[in-house]
């Protein structure tokens, strides 16, 4: 147990330089293309004082590395600055607010994806080359090769246009969570969640199938069968746990990505999440906001990687934290 704590502490320490380098690269790139003065340049009434205010506000007269240091110093104290293109809203609460909306999609989507991917992958592997296996692998193939927006638009057209009378899809708004009925909440969430589930399950189930196939052909499965264990027990006890080990890493990546906001899905369903916010921040050259969201996503990735490594150690006794 102590070894695990020491490991976590060490991992967090080694993450800090990673985080610094990563955010610096994003900062430098964004800062060199985003020019807060550009909008003022076409402004007739603006005087030099306006320029000076902006230059002073963003330290535009300082070199980028130095500006990064100032930004980081503030960020470390929790002050992520303001987002000038979002009505000067404070970045931190803004990002948190949108992150919650994103999580409303990400968490249920992830739970469904994880369950479905394992179930489909295992089923497909156990019944290799059967009709249902071809069906599942066919579905994965379509899901992997089709871009997300195709699914999103298809679902939207089918359920929110053609069958709108029957399905009655609802748009999402934040107060719905407090005032809307359960059925309304479900109908606003179901299409974007389904989009995410379809696309990501396709990739994950394929991965799980491959992993399970490898396990099924391993010697210890043969041993388990030779003991006279029923098929179900061979697969579920001896196969599943081994076949899930490689999936843990994928889960960490996918869950972090989901919580970081899906640009395409959220944009198409007008979801007030992190995805569209980041897109706008980049287009509008909003440095503080871009950095705030990037920082959030980086922390997610780092956090879930750490979780993955811990889960990995729980599933596989050969892993040691030294």
């Amino acid at each position: 147990m102590i070894a695990v704590f020491a490991y976590v502490a060490r991992r967090i320490m080694t993450t800090i330089p990673l985080l610094l380098v990563g955010t610096f690269i994003v900062y430098a790139l964004t800062a060199s293309v985003a020019d807060p003065l550009a909008k003022l340049a076409t402004c007739n009434q603006c005087d030099q004082a306006a320029f000076d205010r902006l230059i002073d506000l963003y330290d535009l007269d300082k070199p980028i590395p130095l500006r990064y240091v100032y930004w980081m110093r503030d960020a470390a104290t929790g002050d992520m600055g303001q987002a000038p293109t979002e009505g000067s809203a404070e970045v931190f609460p803004l990002v948190m607010d949108r992150a919650i909306n994103t999580a409303r999609l990400a968490i249920p989507a992830f739970l469904i994806i994880a369950t479905l991917a394992v179930a489909l992958g295992v089923y497909s592997a156990v019944n290799q080359y059967s009709k249902s296996d071809y069906f599942v692998t066919g579905f994965s193939f379509v899901g992997i090769s089709m871009p997300t927006f195709v699914f999103a638009l298809l679902l939207q057209v089918i359920f929110a246009v053609w069958w709108q009378d029957w399905f009655d899809a609802k748009p999402f708004y934040v107060s719905q969570m407090h005032t809307g009925s359960i059925s309304e909440v479900v109908r606003s969430h179901i299409l974007p969640i389904t989009t995410l589930v379809l696309v990501i399950t396709a990739a994950e189930s394929r991965f799980e199938r491959a992993s399970m196939l490898e396990v099924i052909n391993s010697d210890y499965i043969r041993t388990a069968r030779a003991k006279g264990l029923p098929r179900r027990r061979v697969v579920l006890k001896h196969g599943l746990r081994n076949a899930m080990i490689p999936l843990v890493t994928i889960w960490a990546i996918d869950f972090a990505a989901l919580l970081g906001g899906s640009v395409v899905t959220e944009t198409i369903f007008s979801w007030p999440g992190l995805g569209p916010l980041l897109l706008r921040a980049i287009f509008n050259g909003d440095l503080n906001l871009t950095m705030g969201i990037i920082m959030f996503i980086s922390l997610l990735v780092i956090f879930f990687n750490l979780i993955a490594d811990l889960v990995y150690g729980m599933l596989d006794p050969r892993i040691r934290y030294e």
Binding site: Y220, R222, T223, R225, A226, K227, N242, D316, P317
Partner: protein
């Protein structure tokens, strides 16, 4: 032998449908194993030893086409349902595999896997009793500090210890038949003898019969009562261990013998592996399948496949060779060479 055979295999033929064609892995093999005896099955790689064993355990993949009959303890194994067969697997027939490094599940403790083998066939045994029995089993196979070791994961065991654990698992339910498929091939030479000794002890403790599969004839002495030699999916020679060792009447067996280091030394003959390589299981040559590599081959060997013929009235010694009677004794020949 006067006793009823425990296992009786008749005309076993196994082929696999593969992308490259029909693989003829086992071809018309018949043999008996009597209660308590040890039968060694010897042959080069690809001769069909494992497939024969896996057919007996009913562990072959679904792509296998099996014909013939396998009778165990009066029951025709090939016609049992999966559920009925599972009651025999691990209970009446248990198997020890070649590679102990991969044969145990890495994510469960050795004790867990041992106890599972017991409790799946004896659900009335409590967890605690199964765990006690696991410790006892580890003790039988010579694992030091079994009470501690039972909690270990397979990766905490050495190769030799893992194979001991596999043996412990195989004898957990006092099976009537043990099938060991090259149990020492993957192990260090220094440990091989120990593991063979453990298997003998385990066999003694349970009174089980054993099929010992190996490609090393040298391993067989002192362990097996009878030897049967396979080549290209066919039985080439079968007989008592002494007969096979000293009066083999088959060029292939004699070739195998000459490739055993200890034998070659004793007879002052140079260690010489059989030239050429075993036949492909897809296109078996016409006539005798060993002909391309045989120093005694004549025209008849190409035209006519020799039958497995009894060489004594009791039929205890049988050989598949047109010239079985004319062949010089292995020991005589080596003596001639030496002289």
């Amino acid at each position: 032998m006067t006793t009823e055979p425990l296992l009786s295999v008749r005309d076993l033929t196994v082929s696999f449908d593969t992308d490259d064609g029909l693989v003829q892995a086992v071809n018309g093999v018949s043999f008996d194993v009597h209660p308590g005896e040890t039968l060694a099955v010897v042959g080069e790689s690809g001769s069909g030893k494992s497939v024969t064993a896996m057919a007996t355990m009913r562990l072959l993949p679904r792509s296998a086409r099996i014909s013939g009959s396998i009778t165990f303890d009066g029951r025709d194994l090939l016609s049992l349902s999966d559920r009925e067969m599972r009651r025999i697997q691990g209970e009446d027939i248990a198997m020890i595999f070649q590679d102990p490094m991969t044969a145990l599940n890495p994510v469960f403790t050795v004790g867990n896997q041992l106890a599972e083998a017991i409790r799946i066939h004896h659900p009335d045994v409590s967890k605690k009793a199964a765990s006690e029995r696991s410790i006892e089993l580890l003790e039988i196979v010579g694992i030091p500090e079994p009470r501690i070791r039972v909690e270990n994961y397979p990766h905490e065991f050495s190769g030799g210890m893992r194979q001991r654990a596999m043996i412990a698992m195989a004898i957990a339910n006092q099976p009537k038949l043990l099938i060991a498929d090259e149990p020492t091939t993957a192990l260090d030479v220094t440990i091989q003898a120990q593991v063979i000794e453990v298997m003998r002890k385990a066999q003694e403790a349970t009174g089980a019969a054993m099929i010992l599969i190996t490609h090393d004839l040298g391993l067989v002495a002192g362990v097996a009562e009878r030897v049967q030699v396979m080549y290209g999916g066919r039985l080439f020679e079968t007989g008592d261990t002494g007969t096979i060792y000293y009066r083999s009447r088959n060029p292939y067996t004699q070739g195998l013998m000459r490739s055993i280091p200890t034998f070659a030394k004793r007879t002052d003959e140079r260690l010489s592996p059989i030239p050429g390589s075993p036949p492909s299981a897809i296109n078996l040559p016409a006539g005798c399948s060993f002909r391309p590599r045989c120093e005694f081959a004549e025209a008849i060997c190409r035209d006519e496949e020799p039958a497995l013929r009894p060489l004594d009235p009791a039929g205890a010694h049988q050989s598949r060779c047109h010239f079985a009677e004319e062949l010089p004794d292995f020991s005589q020949r080596t003596a001639e060479v030496a002289g």
